[in-house]
Amino acid sequence: MPESSEATITLAGDLHARPAGALSVAAAKFDAAVEVIVGTSQANAKSVLAVMQLGASSGQQVTIRATGPDAGDAVAAIIGILAGATKAGD
């Protein structure tokens, strides 16, 4: 059974184009399949357009769920990006 991992963060800023791009660039470096879940919507983290389409905004909870050999590292990396990148306000 593949490894899976999940974590949730409350956004400190909107998930605009630049943080969405950073998230997708990071996700692409892992073998694991990574999903970004906001409310009832979910997107493939490796597709920047899908992540932007979520329209996640400040104060919303975002869950990162990964499945695959490096799922834990993928979730940690992406939560780290969301914690840092959405503070800049762009």
């Binding site: 660039v25 357009l49 389409q53």
Partner: protein
């Protein structure tokens, strides 16, 4: 670290190509070479085989080059270039994709280390991406 796929934006307008490259570069973290070929050789609206050829040379880092045209004769001019590939670097493909969304998706996928097929797929999947 292996080279990233390079991207060439071909537009009738130099400022449209440069602005799109600026946006895609920012979103993808400025780690991918995005070269532009906008307008004619004398600065009018149109396309230039020579500009596209130079941009391809600039964008090539050994991992292939994705060319994204805006409209109409951009496609025809790129096709003319690709029909005579002797002077061009290795792998070059043209994407059938919306200009802004395709550029952003391609740049992000290239920045993540995607190969030429992955970058082409990302650009072309942008045709199905909804904004709303």
């Amino acid at each position: 670290m292996a080279a990233n796929v390079g991207i060439v934006l071909v537009s009738h307008s130099a400022s449209l190509a440069e602005g799109t490259a600026e946006l895609a570069g920012q979103v993808s973290g400025e780690t991918v070479t995005i070269a532009t070929a906008g307008g004619t050789d004398d600065g009018r609206i149109g396309t230039s085989l020579a500009k596209i050829s130079r941009a391809v040379q600039l964008a090539d880092a050994g991992a292939g080059v994705l060319i994204l045209p805006d409209l109409g004769s951009s496609v025809l001019t790129v096709r003319a270039l690709l029909a005579d590939p002797d002077d061009l670097p290795g792998q070059i493909v043209m994407a059938d994709a919306p200009f802004v969304e395709g550029a952003v998706a391609a740049a992000v996928t290239a920045a993540g280390g995607g190969d030429l097929k992955a970058v082409l797929d990302a650009a072309q999947e942008a045709r199905h991406a909804r904004k709303l």
